[in-house]
């Protein structure tokens, strides 16, 4: 970090002197970024800023509500882990973000670039429109010519600057001999400029400078909306990546070094503390512990781990520190190899054509043919190339897809904004259209429908005295089952018994001495009990028969509501899990899901989804684990919670930011409405064209009519999109 700091001076983020360089933190202070998924109002902003600013060491804290993020400038010794509890006490969920992974969004160059072009087009079109209105209201002769010349002087440089994105897109399409929406746009703009210049030079009556500029302005507005929606999603997706600060502890001659995961090499000795995630594939060299493999396989029961055993990247170490020798790092880990499955499954999805593309495919050739025909027709009829060219330009301008360019982005922006406020992030541009078609919903169990945190279910089965002993033992360990047991017992008002000499035996459990007897709480095999199907911890007091504390995976908030709402809207709900039969059956009965599959391998999940698609269903897959990744990619549309592994989030179209699952049903609803609006917008745009095009073809269109048609259709389309809110 220090090396990085000394290289960059304190460049302010807005400085354009060094635009390529990401904002550097000021050398003496540290920059901390926190993600605050729960904030939503002015009171939240005020509370968060007050709490943070009151914390010693914090110099300045500023909340960005749009990004749901707080940027904190603080004294060097301040750390995010100290700030998070402060916010949690005030009632806000907070997570640390890796400022390095965020820097790309801070200087959003492309967005600013588009905004500048939009501004130039906007102001130029206002000025030119002012002059055009004077012409339309009766300026003649020399005055009209002067107005036209001034318009040209404004329009030519303005368009040269602001229409560049269209020129670039059209050129790249033409180079590979294809047509896209930008080809007719560029043709219309250029033709309008050429004919208008020609007319102006011959002191003609009609010039389309204002039309060319307004066209650019409206289309840029559509582009910008589209870009901003996607940039918001991208920055939030980046934020999720930044949530996982990728650090590992390497042991060199017994000395611990904290380094970035990317710097690990095969053969390195790596220390993984309890609660840490395996950064690499490796072999355990020393230590005993338990591993939580639920993100990889969907199993909820922790697996025992000891020296000599192989571990995979992504598994979570639960109880004791483990020393690994890395056998595969980075791209070679099993975690990354799973990504290959995704690439295969994903190729199926790219076949989807968005509504906008479908419209463009019909539209672009149609417009060119129509304009060419009117040029030919008028040339043959009048024999005057100037009239013919004028009419061809008018046809192109009138048909130009202002409204079409706004029809989709305006709706997706409104819908994405609405869903973002509910905690959903639309990552893919066609995700909403695909979501609206979903008729089958496939859920993963562990980590998706359930929160992945165990919950004690049979506290009432045991006598108070025994629970007191169990509580005393449980509180000595950070194992998730112990934590859950302690929480449940404390909530029931139970005080720990006086157990002496409590020690944790990593990988097995905790033991101590109670009234002269040895007491143990831990794994079945260690206690001398039979491990059943369910997740359980066992308590042994002296030589008495062991007692089971059984746990079930707690349901994620909103899971039941989401499943009910989806079923109520006529969708078929399926549960697919890699977990054992018993656990999956129990959950599906609890939620009333009749169609469930247990012990499914990753390939099984993807295959089953493929089968459903082949039967003509549109599958929405909701999953979080590595074992779901292929299924997520194979499905028609997919959602993953923010707690999912990076690979799963990358493979899915929509990410759920909060903890709650209930927005899923809502999202389906919004998607259906949004698609309906998009279709409506296309129809509105078509109606305007149907009215205005004949006028243009028979040569009655004036610049005034073109301006009116263009503006009204664009405005109607935007207003229609706003109705979605």
């Amino acid at each position: 970090m220090t090396a990085q700091l000394s290289s960059g001076t304190a460049a302010c983020p807005g400085c354009l002197a060094a635009p390529a360089e990401p904002a550097q933190p000021i050398p003496e202070d540290v920059q901390i970024a926190l993600s605050l998924p729960g904030i939503h109002c002015s009171a939240c902003i005020a509370t968060v800023e007050r709490e943070l600013n009151a914390h010693p060491g914090v110099e300045d804290a500023r909340v960005n509500l749009t990004l749901k993020r707080a940027m904190i400038k603080a004294a060097p010794e301040t750390r995010a882990v100290d700030l998070i509890p402060v916010l949690e006490k005030a009632g806000f969920e907070a997570h640390e973000l890796d400022p390095g992974a965020l820097s790309a969004t801070q200087t959003d160059k492309a967005g600013r670039d588009l905004l500048m072009r939009l501004a130039v087009a906007g102001f130029a079109s206002m000025n030119v429109m002012l002059l055009s209105v004077s012409v339309w209201s009766g300026a003649t002769d020399a005055t009209r010519d002067m107005f036209h010349w001034i318009s040209a002087a404004i329009a030519l440089p303005a368009i040269a600057f602001s229409a560049q994105p269209f020129f670039a897109n059209a050129w790249s399409a033409l180079r590979v001999r294809r047509l896209n929406m930008d080809v007719p746009i560029v043709l219309a703009i250029l033709l309008a400029l050429i004919t208008s210049l020609w007319e102006t030079a011959l002191s003609g009556e009609h010039a389309y400078f204002d039309a060319a500029l307004t066209l650019t302005f409206f289309l840029l507005a559509g582009r910008y909306l589209d870009y901003r929606t996607r940039a918001a999603a991208r920055s939030a997706a980046e934020e999720l990546t930044a949530l996982e600060v990728p650090r590992a502890i390497r042991l060199v001659d017994g000395v611990e070094q904290e380094i970035a995961v990317a710097e690990l090499k095969v053969g390195d000795l790596i220390l993984v503390r309890p609660g840490g995630r395996m950064p690499v594939d490796g072999e355990i060299m020393s230590g005993q512990s338990e591993l939580d493999r639920s993100l990889l396989t969907g199993e909820t029961v922790p697996v025992f781990a000891e020296t000599g055993q192989l571990v995979s990247a992504g598994e979570v170490n639960l109880t004791g520190p483990l020393t690994l020798r890395a056998t595969a790092v980075g791209e070679d880990t099993s975690l990354h190899r799973m990504a290959d499955l995704v690439a295969i499954a994903e190729s199926g999805r790219s076949r989807y054509t968005s509504l906008a593309d479908k419209a463009a495919k019909l539209y672009a050739p149609g417009v060119h043919i129509l304009s060419a025909l009117s040029f030919l027709g008028w040339y043959i009829y009048s024999g005057d190339i100037r009239t013919a060219l004028n009419i061809a330009a008018a046809v192109l301008i009138i048909t130009c897809p202002c409204a079409l360019g706004l029809a989709v982005p305006a709706v997706t922006t409104a819908a994405s904004g609405r869903l973002f406020r509910k905690g959903m992030l639309i990552k893919h541009s066609t995700a909403l259209e695909r979501l609206s078609e979903a008729d089958t919903v496939v859920f993963d169990k562990t980590g998706t429908l359930t929160s992945g945190a165990p919950e004690l279910v049979n506290l009432g089965d045991h006598t108070r005295a025994k629970v007191e002993v169990a509580l005393a033992l449980a509180e000595a360990s950070a194992h998730p089952l112990s934590v859950a047991l302690a929480k449940a017992a404390r909530e029931a008002g139970i005080k720990p018994a006086n157990v002496r000499g409590v020690v944790e035996v990593p990988g097995y459990g905790t033991e101590g001495e109670y009234r002269g007897q040895r007491v143990r709480l831990g794994r079945a095999a260690w206690i001398g009990a039979e491990q059943g199907n369910e997740t359980s911890a066992w308590l042994a007091i002296g030589d008495h028969a062991p007692l089971a504390f059984r746990f079930s995976d707690a349901l994620r908030p909103g899971a039941a509501e989401a499943v009910d709402a989806l079923r109520a809207s006529g969708k078929h709900v399926v549960l697919m899990s890699g977990d054992s039969q018993g656990a999956v059956r129990a959950l599906s009965e609890k939620l009333g899901i009749t169609d469930w599959i247990a012990e499914a391998l990753p390939q099984d999940k993807a295959l089953r989804i493929q089968e459903l698609s082949d039967q003509g269903h549109h599958v929405l897959m909701v999953g979080d684990g590595l074992n779901d990744t292929a299924a997520l990619a194979a499905a028609h549309v997919s959602i993953s919670p923010a707690s999912a592994l990076d690979a799963a989030r990358v493979a899915s179209d929509i990410v759920l930011l909060g903890n709650d699952l209930s927005p899923i049903a809502d999202a389906c609803d919004t998607a259906v409405k949004a698609t309906k609006r998009i279709r409506e917008n296309f129809r509105i745009a078509t109606v305007y064209n149907v009215i205005a095009v004949p006028l243009a073809v028979i040569g009655l269109a004036t610049p005034l009519i073109a301006a009116l048609a263009m503006s009204t259709s664009s405005i109607t389309v935007s207003l229609n999109a706003l109705r979605l809110r």
Binding site: G14, L16, R50, L115, M116, F123, N127
Partner: protein, 52 residues
């Protein structure tokens, strides 16, 4: 019609001022947090004086 000699430069100038003002707002990050800025005016903490 001599009035045009004043009016046209004035209108161009005003348009230019608007554009420059907009460019300034973009450069000084005033569009970073539209949601938050809209809500901040409801915050009564720094209502009567600027933040120190």
């Amino acid at each position: 019609m001599e009035v045009l000699a004043y009016l046209i430069p004035i209108s161009l100038l005003l348009g230019g001022v608007g554009l420059v003002a907009f460019v300034y707002t973009v450069r000084s990050n005033q569009y970073e947090d539209p949601e938050g800025d809209a809500r901040r005016i409801l915050n009564d903490e720094w209502d009567d004086k600027p933040k120190p």
